[in-house]
């Protein structure tokens, strides 16, 4: 059922949406606008915003895409906590008043649209990709890298980050220190550093272990609490600190890097799998 087109009989209750509005082109300062929204079963906060846009105010702006907690676009400050609007049903908030503001610790572009440029800048700074000493193999791979299940478990939970920015908006250190790298980028730096296929730890140290890196974390744990994907950035930061501590006192054991698997010999393609269709976009020659 589409909540935007709900019938009267399907409405459970009505809630008041208190939405922070701000248009830098015309408004002097942000202000709150209230909307009465009919709630149907299973309706999410995002559905409520869509209803407002459809029925009350088409100028209301926010960012959203997948509606299923995967893309990380619809991060908002909902009833005092950073959450994904698509991931939270209205009835689960147990309130008749839904306060919605843009994510804290970011500039506002308009209404509920935060400027996530700082998030992506900090993310890029930790080089969030596999770095190999053999750049030839990296750029023109000849095979896969060997990796055990245990090696995968070392970083897999940190790989679930969807870059929604909720952790940054919840972090008390980010709120006071603009220079702090923040839980998202630090956790992603650790995600790649702890990957057995990676050899770029030294290149990430400049950010990870800088004056504004992992050592500025107060371990409030708010980042881990609000993460919609169950990632624990606070844990990644503590693990990075632990490694740095042992490294300082020469107690660090470096792990061997994953080797490249040799090409498969005598490979016979399965005949029961249909052939992939031709790409619709031709590669440039």
């Amino acid at each position: 059922m589409n909540p935007v087109q709900a019938k009267d009989s399907e409405i459970i209750k009505t809630v008041i949406y208190e939405v922070l509005r701000y248009n830098p082109a015309g408004d002097r300062s942000p202000h709150i606008e209230r909307y009465s929204v009919p709630v149907t079963k299973g309706m999410t906060v995002l559905d409520g915003l869509l209803w407002i846009k459809e029925h009350k105010d088409p100028t209301l702006s926010w960012r959203s895409s997948c509606r299923m907690g995967v893309c990380g676009s619809c991060g908002m400050f909902i009833n005092g906590l950073p959450r994904l609007a698509c991931n939270n049903q209205i009835v689960h908030l147990h309130s008749d008043r839904i306060s919605i503001k843009p994510l804290p610790n970011f500039d506002i572009i308009r209404d509920l649209v935060p400027d996530l440029e700082t998030l992506f800048q900090k993310h890029r700074a930790v080089k969030p990709y596999l770095i190999r000493k053999d750049r030839g193999e990296q750029d023109h791979p000849t095979g896969e890298y060997f990796q055990s299940q245990q090696e995968l478990m070392n970083y897999i939970q940190f790989a679930y980050c969807i870059k929604c920015g909720l952790c940054l908006s919840a972090c008390p250190t980010v709120a006071t220190s603009k220079n702090y790298a923040g839980p998202q980028s630090l956790a992603q730096g650790w995600r790649y550093t702890s990957d057995s296929r990676d050899e770029g730890a030294a290149e990430r140290e400049a950010v990870l272990f800088s004056e504004h890196g992992v050592y500025r974390c107060h371990f409030a744990g708010a980042c881990s609490q609000v993460c919609p994907k169950g990632v624990d950035p606070a844990l990644a930061i503590q693990l990075a600190k632990r490694e740095a501590f042992f490294k300082t006192f020469g107690r660090h054991r470096s792990r061997p890097s994953a080797s490249v698997a040799p090409p498969v010999q005598n490979w016979v393609p399965r005949t029961d799998i249909p052939k992939a269709p031709e790409p619709t976009v031709k590669a440039k020659s």
Partner: protein, 125 residues
């Protein structure tokens, strides 16, 4: 990395402070308990008791180690807090230099006092 070393020493100095301050608290503020346990030595803040401790080599070394640990731990913590105020790079460097200078001056002065009192053992009864 320099910051890793500083932070690691910050942690280690915290442990040193916890141990040495624990000993200090036990001697200075738990004298009644120590008396009950039969290892007390009277009022710990009596001048002759203070001088007696200060003239012992291990106490002098302990004082200097505690001084170094406390100064490093405190000043690194102070610098960390100030660096969280979104200051400019230049100002952060000034704060770092200032903390180092203040720490060194206080350490030299404190060590001088501890060693001077230790040497007074040769002239005092």
């Amino acid at each position: 990395m320099r910051e890793s070393k500083l932070w690691s020493w910050h942690i280690l100095s915290g442990v040193v402070i916890a141990v040495l301050l624990g000993i200090h608290m036990a001697i200075m503020h738990m004298d009644a308990v120590l008396e009950i346990l039969g290892i007390g030595s009277g009022d710990p803040i009596r001048s002759d008791a203070v001088f007696y401790r200060s003239r012992q080599l291990y106490f002098m070394i302990t004082y200097i180690i505690l001084l170094a640990a406390a100064l490093f731990h405190g000043l690194y913590g102070l610098r960390s807090m100030l660096c969280e105020l979104s200051l400019s790079r230049a100002l952060e460097k000034v704060i770092g230099t200032l903390c180092t200078a203040v720490g060194l001056v206080l350490f030299i002065y404190g060590s001088y006092v501890a060693m001077t009192v230790y040497r007074m053992g040769e002239v005092l009864p």
